[in-house]
Structure formats: C-alpha cells, structure tokens
Symmetry: C2
Subunit: 337 residues, 2 copies
DNA sequence: TTGAAAGCGCTAACAG
DNA sequence: CTGTTAGCGCTTTCAA
C-alpha cells in the first residue's frame, strides 16, 4: 500500500506552509486567491484527502453526527438514513447509527455512552425520540446540537417536518369529494406527535365539509397492523358502519383491508380505505392503497444540512417544511349506493 | 462539560504508567494479574473510556467497519444493520454505512473514496455486492479484510449464509404434502445468487417427490412486485395453470396474490402462493403469506464477529451457517378439487 | 513485567 | 496574509 499523502506533502508541493494548506481545506478566511488555487492544485495532483482522525484529535471535533432512532419502520428509517448520508457527504461528515431505548433511564444511558465513546458533533433525532424531554434536556446539558425530524414541538429548534394536519385534511377532502360523509379515523400511537396532527387534520377535514364529528368514528390504534385489525372490527361492527376508513398509517390500513376482505366486503365498492406513509407495501396489497407520501429521505437530508450549517455558523434554529403528496390508488372510491 | 478522563488519569489513579493501562485495555499479554485488576478498578472508578480518535491515530487502525450495500429491501438492510451494530458493540467498534453503486467503475470509485476518507479496518458485504469480482479483487489489493453475507461463492472467505436450497426444497415439500403436483416457481433476479439457490431447491423438491420438472412452470422474475405480477399472468394463462406458485421472494408473491384476487381466484382454495424472506408485509397482506424466515440480524451479527475476530487473530476464513424457518400461514392450502 | 520517550497527522494559538 | 510551535490522547518502540 502506498504511504499516505499528508498535509505536509501538499504544503511542500504547493510551496507553502502546512498551516496554509489547513486554512484552504477548512475554508478559513485570510488566504490569497492565488495561494488558494496553488494549494488546491497540489491537493488534486496528489489526490490528498485529510486524515479524519488526526483532524478530529487536533481540532476537537469529530466530524461525526449520530442518528438516534427507535422506530420499528424499516422503510421510514432507510429513507431517513439515505438522506442523512447524502447530507453528510457534501461536508465530509460521517454518520453513526444509534438504536436507542424508549424508556428514559436507558435512553439517557445510551446517549451518555455514545457521547463518551464517539463525541458526535451533533445528533439527528427521529420520532418518537424527538419528544423525550429528558433526552432534549440532556443533550442541551452536554452541549450537543441536534436537529429533529417531525418533532411535536417545532418552536426554537432545528427541525424538518411536513404539514401533517394539512395532509390528513386533504385526504378527508378526497373522501368527501367521493361522496363519503361517514368517514372514520384510526388514530396512531399516542406517543407520536403524528397521531395528534393526523387526527386534527381529520377533524378539520370534516368540519370544512360541514360534517359533524362523530366521536365513535375516531378509534384508537397504535400504528401496528394488529391494532388496525382491532380498530377495523370495532368500526365495522358499529350499527351504522363508516363508508370510508382513514387510518393514520399504512400498516393499520392494511389491517383494515384484511378485515374487510375477510368479511366479504369489496374495496372500494363497499368500503374505502386510506393510509398514510406510502410504504412499499401500500402498493403491493390488493387493492393497492390510497395514501400520503412522506419524503423521508429529503427530511433526513435537510435535517443534516441544517444541523451541519448550524455547527459552522451557529445560526438561529430554523424550522423547515417539506411537501407531502397524495397518492391516489385503488382502495378509495365513490361512496356505495 | 467535565474535562475528559484520559489514560494518564487512570494511570495515576492506579499508580502505574500510561503504557500499562494501555496494555490492559488492549488485552496485551505481560501484565501481572494484580496490576491488571488495579488498572481495571481505576478504569471503573473514573468511568474511563478511551478516545477513539487518539487511539486510531496512534495505533494506525480505525476501529471502523464499513457495511457496503446496494439492496433495495429496507427490511433486509435494517435487519443486517441491527446485527452489525450488535456485533460492533461488544468490541468497541463503529459501523459506517456505505450505499454503493452496482456498476463496476462507480462501485470501485466509491470504495476508493471510502478508503481514502475513513480507512475502515474491515468491510461487510451484502448481496449482490458480494459477487462483484472487481470489488473483491480491489479489496484484496487494498489489503482490507471483508466478510460476506450470502455470497455466491462461499469458499475461502469469511461468510455467513443460510442453506437456501434446502429452505426452498422444504417449501416445495410443504406444497407436495398438501397434495400439489403442478407447482410453479418464479425465479429471482439473475444477479443474485439466491435466485439460483432457490431455483435449485425448487427442482430438488420436485425430484424428491417424483414430479417431473416442467420447464414452463419455472418463469423468470426480478424480485420486484411488478415482475411477480407479470410472472403470475404468464403462469395463470397457461393451458393447465399451476395449483401452487412459489415465488423466490415475498414481493413477487405479493404480485401473484394481487393478480389472483383480481381474477377472482380464492387463495388458498383455488391457488396456493408462497414467498421467501418473511418481510413484515408477508403477514399484512390478505391472505397472510406462507414464507421462509431469514435471520438477517443474526447474519449481520455473525459476519461482524467473524470479521472482527479475524482482524485480531488472523484465523483462517470460515463459512458460517444460520438456520431458516418455514412460516406457514394462510396463503397455502390443500390442492383444489 | 514495566516505563520513558517519540511520534501518528492535524489544528490552535500566536507571532510575524 | 502566512508561518512556527506546541500539543490533541493514544500506541509504538525501545530500554530497563
């Protein structure tokens, strides 16, 4: 293996000092344009890339950000991961993946050992960790900047989120346009802010259409397939069952579809079913599912970029918004009769 | 923030030199039992954990392994990732996640930039990257050890795999026991070794039952839902259609189910359908899918442990085997009539 | 079996 | 605008 090209070699090749090369590489000011060019040429010529660890050791930064998660959805996480990696790449940062426990004590212990071992320069939080007051407080104590994806509280923090209430509202609007008036909602897991937002959007959608909100049509769920199955049974056993069921995520909607088909209901002729998230599964079930697409990778990317730029420039925290998309598929149709 | 506890502090507390602490921490020989204990006590007392970057810089190892992947299945990847993380934890290693291109040139460029930037001590390969001769050769040139998950060639390398032919054969056996004789197979993507193994197991299963292999019943697919849809149409349009379809993965099986239901076929009364992988989706479709469970996390964990221990002790490469499990669910049943 | 000294490759602080 | 010097926290060498 060829010996490593060091900053000294570049300095020599460019006829400047080590420190000047360092300045150029770190985009520090006070370097003449011409000198900068000369250095960059040497960097290219020697195909130099800085030794991350030496850099970290000397500079007291790690060039590492940690992605903390406790989320059972592989698709959601892989989306976010791709985005975070994309965001890191531009800035020569690396990502550390950190599964975390939900329970406060263990969560904090996990974070502490992460910090002891790897000292990340920043952290990206995904739901529901975004909403653990204990965690947020500890990160502040440790003076570790963080960016959150879809946190419940979007004030005074770096975060990226969709307009979830609006998205849910649009879904209801879609059902109303199909003629539905008896529209049910299966609420998500109570620990997730998304559950509240989607419920809120559901209610707004009904109000907007002048439909009274019937409390027995909004039933609790937990984002799991099984909870969707249970909720579907409750709803379909009602004296006057709904003609459309809007579940707060795709997994629960899949549960609804399963129960409906088992009972011999045709979808969407007898019952319309909608989900939320646009998981790959939502296209693969029969009938394919009307749902809302969430740009998870873009959210990861933006959160990372916002975090990294706040590390550099310590800007005021900003709350970013990403667009949702309604995916109309086969599981929603005109109201029966 | 409290100042970092350094190896010097531990040394002082234990009344030994820095180097002795280092010896203990790195499990080097030639330390008296009693000294070792004293050092460990000091480590505990001060809650010391070594500074990874300083260690890397001085020791010329990074304590990093890279997980290289090009696999569209989020569930598969999250399983492997969990396992690799679990394997890393025991040894104080960190994992770097590296999405890679499939095409040779770009794949190699990606690896080279990874190495230039992060110098991982080792690499974990997932299908189909496991089977890129160019990649394997380059890793050898760069003298970077690697472990493969389910590689096509399992000779003379560190690898972990299931007995895929056997698993597929058992699935066919299951269908034969249900009375099926006209059993079709949808083959996986040609670039994946798994496609060959599963096809092979399918054939063995038929031979074992004394059923002649009808070539028109083994149709090509690409592991995608859409390819499953296409293959299902081909098979169900046959003059004498199969009574059971065994797809080489769950996504394609989902495609089969969709086509069958659209044509008014009942599953499993009119047609049995089986998949492979046991994705979460396989439980959530209607009817829930008979499939084969692959312990992806365990595979990731074992590959990591094997890789790390080969780094330490340079043992001869070993090929590890993990067990599969048949998950019998609702999509397979007795042959019609 | 243990310790002292010399770096690993880089950046920070300060001096020019 | 640029260079010099002194570490960052650890492991390696070599000496005791």
């Amino acid at each position: 293996m060829a010996p490593r090209v060091r900053i000294e070699d570049v300095a020599e090749a460019a006829g400047v000092s080590m420190k000047t090369v360092s300045r150029v590489l770190n985009c520090e000011p006070n370097v003449r344009e011409q000198t900068r060019d000369r250095v960059m040429q040497a960097v290219e010529a020697l195909n130099y890339s800085p030794h991350m660890f030496a850099r970290s050791l000397a500079g007291n930064r790690t060039y590492l950000i940690a992605l903390l998660y406790n989320n059972p959805s592989a698709n959601y996480m892989m989306g976010v991961i791709s985005g975070v990696l994309a965001g890191c790449e531009t800035q020569q940062y690396n990502m550390l993946l950190c599964p975390a426990e939900l329970e406060d004590d263990r969560l904090l212990r996990g974070v502490e050992s992460l910090v002891a071992r790897s000292q990340p320069d920043g952290v990206i939080l995904t739901p529901p960790l975004t909403d653990s007051p204990a965690l947020l407080e500890r990160l502040k104590q440790l003076d570790i900047p963080y960016a959150s994806i879809s946190p419940r509280n979007q004030q005074d923090c770096i975060c990226v989120a969709m307009d979830e209430p609006l998205a849910a509202q649009e879904m209801v609007r879609h059902l109303v346009q199909l003629g539905h008036r008896r529209i049910a909602h299966i609420i998500g897991h109570p620990a997730h802010g998304a559950s509240d937002w989607r419920l809120q959007g559901y209610r707004r959608g009904l109000e907007e259409a002048g439909i009274a909100v019937d409390p027995e049509l909004a039933v609790p769920g937990e984002f799991s397939f099984e909870s969707g199955v249970a909720a579907a049974r409750t709803l379909l056993d009602l004296p006057t069952p709904p003609t459309a069921i809007f579940a707060a995520n795709d997994d629960m909607a899949a549960g609804v579809i399963q129960v409906a088909l088992q009972r011999g209901l045709r979808i969407p002729q007898d019952l319309s079913v909608c989900g939320f998230d646009d998981t790959p599964m939502s296209e693969q079930v029969f009938p394919s599912m009307t749902t809302i697409h969430q740009p998870t990778d873009e959210m990861g990317r933006l959160a990372t970029i916002a975090l990294l730029s706040s590390l550099r420039h310590s800007e005021p925290p900003a709350s970013l918004r990403v667009p949702h998309t309604l995916r109309l598929r086969q599981s929603s149709g005109p109201v029966p009769g």
